[in-house]
Symmetry: C2
Subunit: 349 residues, 2 copies
DNA sequence: CTCCTGATTGGAAACGTATCCAACAATTCC
DNA sequence: GGAATTGTTGGATACGTTTCCAATCAGGAG
């Protein structure tokens, strides 16, 4: 290939503006604007003249000028933890598709679950005057969120809720999801069920743990507190926590992981300890990521409708001003596969 | 939780501007600007007065006004195929991290490999006056690309090159990667090696196929043309193509898939046909996605350094104006695992 | 013929910022 | 003491657009 010269153009020249087009077409500036903003009325002949001149000059309207004048940007910010995680990827696909329908652009930010990074991103998005922000909040930076909201930016939280902030969120029914997974394991006869969950500051973490506990309560089985482990969502710490869980003097016979990062860590730890699923230990988790159905055995999961959540979040954040936006809770779906089996039985579940 | 009221604020009021701050601090507009753009000199006492006033008024500088005046946006566009695909996710993480270092924002677009969608996104990014665009091009819309480039937008292509466009790209050594995978299978004694690849219009597709063929040539084994299948990167068509390959009258004993979508399709098709890897058929592929190491057996792959490619692409697109940007080719790394075994042998490789 | 209505048009005034220029003050240098 | 330098400041102008207002024009009603 011959593209060795770089493809870079000197950007010194002025860009073509509506004024240039107006001059070339022999009309007034206002008329050109009316053509491109598709508002008001323009005589067909005039419109054609203008469009011809614009084509000739390779004119492209500038969103900068437009947005400055209109005081709205058509951009929304999306703050996820890690876009390489399939759950956030699916969610983002939902956001992108919905935003595109409405001619909106998406500014992507990855917080890495770091409050400081999140704060920087919030500031940047505020400066960019985005119309709205969709975020998986870290749970910190309450002041920044409040300030952004008070500046008139529509905000929607996903997956987690923040107290005292009066910002709507879209979450799944965490309690029910975790409860069903746990009930399922209990029904299979397990009574030492490990719980590998996220930080309890996050409402999703608290709710899932509550579901896990409620399931125990319902059938009168005591939760073994030393089998309840909360950890950050990074691969290394999650793996270490999973190992710790498995190294318990009396190890669990089943394990609930509350998202795909923790599930992957658990599976890896189980294998590294030379154990096998489901013969030595049953494993269930949140998030129906692709690998859940590719590994052997395929993992029983509670699926969150990530794409649809992205779609809903986008609709919420773009709701007409003045419209009340209600927080939303979506249902999870349990997908039974083969990663759990009855305790004290040699036949697979 | 009590956030049932919506968190929406009427946006009717004027926003606070530098003029307001200037008035409140009893200084001139220019001085306020100097404080926030951090250019020129401002007396410490004055600066403090201004910062106090700004804090008091909750002033946030507007990127719109700044960008309009400066004629640059600090935004770059990223056009991928599907952000829920781990390869693009990793790449995007690299882009985000690098962009953030330089205070840049990333506008994310997913083309779905559709030329029409790609064109719309290019237009939108041009209107947004992004400083640069990083794209996995579909191979179409040459005019749009040319036009964007001529408007002064820095463009970098990833994964694929486009002829006659003088736009730099960052690619992996596709030919070598595919050659090594194929050589490996040939060395294990396979001679009927299926090839499941992308459309040949894409240079990456052509180069990988060339590597596959070269490997055969090197050892004097003829390519079985009816085992060479090119397909689009959608799950359904890829799966159908994989099935077709397996249903060959004389089926292949090994398979090369040229990316993770095709690899997943191949693996699923193999299993659905009741075959097992590697006993019935060996499978190797491009892309070291997480599941490649979680399935049984773990898949031998050629890994593309997605994150680093994102980083490099971002550096290229943000290179100082006037600087020549050289196209870049990065090396792949072959990761041997257990998804291939010698033909005519009962011991695993 | 005049008045009125509606469609079409041109141009001025913002939107919020950066930057140039002139003005001024406080030093410093001879 | 005067001139030159340096640091600091205010204000006008421009960036590319939208939008308001007034003006023009064609044509129908009276």
């Amino acid at each position: 290939m011959s593209n060795t010269t770089g493809g870079r153009r000197e950007n010194g020249g002025k860009q073509t503006t509506m004024r240039d087009v107006a001059l070339a077409a022999g009309v007034g500036l206002g008329t050109v604007s009316r053509v491109f903003s598709n508002v008001g009325s323009v005589a067909p002949a005039t419109r054609e003249k203008i469009e011809a001149a614009a084509r000739e000059l390779n004119f492209r309207p500038s969103a900068l000028g437009r947005d400055l004048k209109r005081r709205t940007t058509n951009n929304i910010g999306l703050i996820v933890t890690d876009i390489s995680n399939n759950f956030y990827g699916e969610f983002a696909q939902g956001v992108l598709a919905t935003a595109k329908e409405q001619g909106r652009h998406v500014i992507l930010c990855a917080s890495g679950e770091e409050p400081e990074t999140e704060r920087e991103y919030i500031d940047l998005l505020v400066e960019q005057r985005v119309d709205g922000i969709i975020a998986f909040p870290t749970g910190h930076n309450l002041d920044s969120w409040r300030s952004a909201r008070d500046l008139g930016i529509n905000i929607v939280f996903a997956d987690r809720e923040l107290p005292d902030l009066d910002i709507p969120s879209i979450v799944v029914d965490n309690e029910a999801g975790a409860r069903r997974l746990t009930e399922y394991l209990l029904a299979l006869g397990h009574s030492r069920i490990g719980y590998l969950g996220g930080p309890s500051e996050l409402t999703s973490g608290g709710q899932r743990e509550a579901g896990y506990r409620q399931a125990h309560l319902d059938v009168g089985v005591a939760v073994k507190e030393d089998l309840v482990v909360r950890t950050r969502f990074t691969r290394d710490t999650a793996y270490a926590s999973a190992l710790r869980l498995l190294e318990n003097p009396v190890p669990p016979t089943a394990l609930v992981a509350t998202n795909n990062v923790l599930g992957e860590a658990a599976l890896t730890a189980i294998r590294d300890r030379g154990l096998s699923v489901p013969d030595d230990i049953s494993l269930v988790m949140f998030d129906d990521v692709p690998w859940a159905n590719l590994v052997e055995p395929p993992i029983t999961v509670v699926a969150q409708p990530a794409w649809q959540m992205g779609q809903s979040a986008t609709r919420m954040v773009l709701a007409a001003d003045g419209e009340k936006v209600q927080p939303q809770t979506v249902k999870t779906e349990m997908v039974l596969r083969r990663s759990a089996r009855p305790l004290h039985s040699s036949a697979p579940a």
